[in-house]
């Protein structure tokens, strides 16, 4: 990493500011240590509902990232003008506005994807990740850091969706992005593209993560004793 980039969080915030950190850390924490899906367990509804094919998962991830970045930036820019009693209402209105934009852009430019995702595009409004970041981060720091954080969270969410939807499409239809990967003799495991497959995939990911954590903890204990 290079020298820390100066942050924009120098003006007087309403609440005690989070300790300043380089923008790169803000970005990276969203992908790894604070991954919205795998660590914070936020945004599970879209992570499972639209992850039956890689294309859908990717589109959902990008649309959410777009809304997250625009709303985080705007909320952070106007944060000193919003009274704290009405902040949640204001946040959700800002988010709903950008979701409407994303919905219309998708419907105009990519009608097939828009049809496949259906009501799950407007449902981005109630994706807890976006309101959660607005409340926990964007409402407290300057626009530059808010943007870096939103980009990281969006990337982390997209990464999780790519992982889940890739796994489900590969096993459930034997293909990736619509191209046949596993060959004509593969018998598709249709279960995986149906609702129980979504729960199962995420459950397996959590089990693997639990196993790795357990493994690391066991090794730490062994070294200490």
């Amino acid at each position: 990493m290079n020298a820390p980039i100066p942050t924009a969080a120098t003006d007087e915030p309403r609440v005690p500011a989070t300790p300043p950190s380089p923008l790169w850390l803000d970005f990276w924490s969203g992908i790894s240590a604070n991954n919205p899906v795998f660590v914070q367990m936020l945004g599970l509804c879209p992570a499972m509902a639209v992850s039956n094919s890689l294309a859908n998962g990717l589109a959902m991830g990008l649309a959410t990232t777009f809304v997250l970045m625009c709303s985080s930036f705007l909320i952070s820019a106007v944060r000193n003008y919003i009274a704290s009693e009405v902040r949640l209402t204001s946040y959700i209105l800002i988010i709903a506005t950008f979701v409407t934009v994303a919905d219309m852009v998708l419907a105009a430019g990519f009608p097939e994807i828009s049809k496949a995702l259906g009501p799950f595009i407007p449902l981005i409004v109630v994706n807890c990740i976006i309101l959660g970041r607005a409340e926990a981060f964007a409402g407290k720091v300057g626009p530059t850091r808010a943007l870096a954080d939103a980009l990281g969270m969006g990337a982390g969410f997209t990464f999780a969706l790519i992982l889940i939807s890739g796994f489900r499409e590969l096993l459930g239809s034997g293909s990736l992005l619509g191209f046949n990967v596993l060959g004509p003799r593969y018998e598709p495991w249709v279960f995986m593209v149906m609702p129980p497959g979504g729960f199962l995939t995420l459950g397996l990911i959590f089990l693997v993560m639990g196993w790795r954590m357990e493994h690391a903890a066991g090794r730490g204990k062994g070294a200490a004793s």
Partner: protein, 191 residues
Amino acid sequence: MSDLAWIFFSTLLVNNFTLAMFLGLCSFFGVTSKIDTAWRLGAANTFVLVITAVSVWLLNTFLLARTPFLRTIAFIVVIASTVQIVEMIIKKYLPVLFRELGIYLPLITTNCAILGLALFQTTRSYNLIEGIVFAFGAGLGLTLALTLMASIRERIDVADVPAMARRMGLVLVVASCLSMAFMGFAGLGSQ
């Protein structure tokens, strides 16, 4: 089966909001450690769902016919105010429940089941009666899923579970089995 009964049962069992359509998962995983709390949250959700169905019908009929692009924004404002009212009622008359539900009560606003109901009701163009029946089915379906999950988790708590499954892993696999069981109802519609 008549149309209304069909709407009710298909939302309750075949297209269960939580287990088949992945709506309202936050509370499904967050508040299902005790049966009592689970079914009460289900009841609060049902109440909000029915009020939402009526308001959405009013909005769609009188306000949004000419301005469809305001739909998402209008819905979310109506839902947020409804939840605020329900919160005040529960705080006044059921203070114990209010403390138990904690953060999950205001979070009904961001429960995707509520906005999901509003959107599905719009795309399927239900009339007022159909909308209310739809909301009741969805609410009871949520309550059913929450209660089932809570009953299973109360049993898991006293069982000897491998350490790696103690976080969410096992709960998600159990949810997968529940969802699989509900897929069995899919044959209901073919009659």
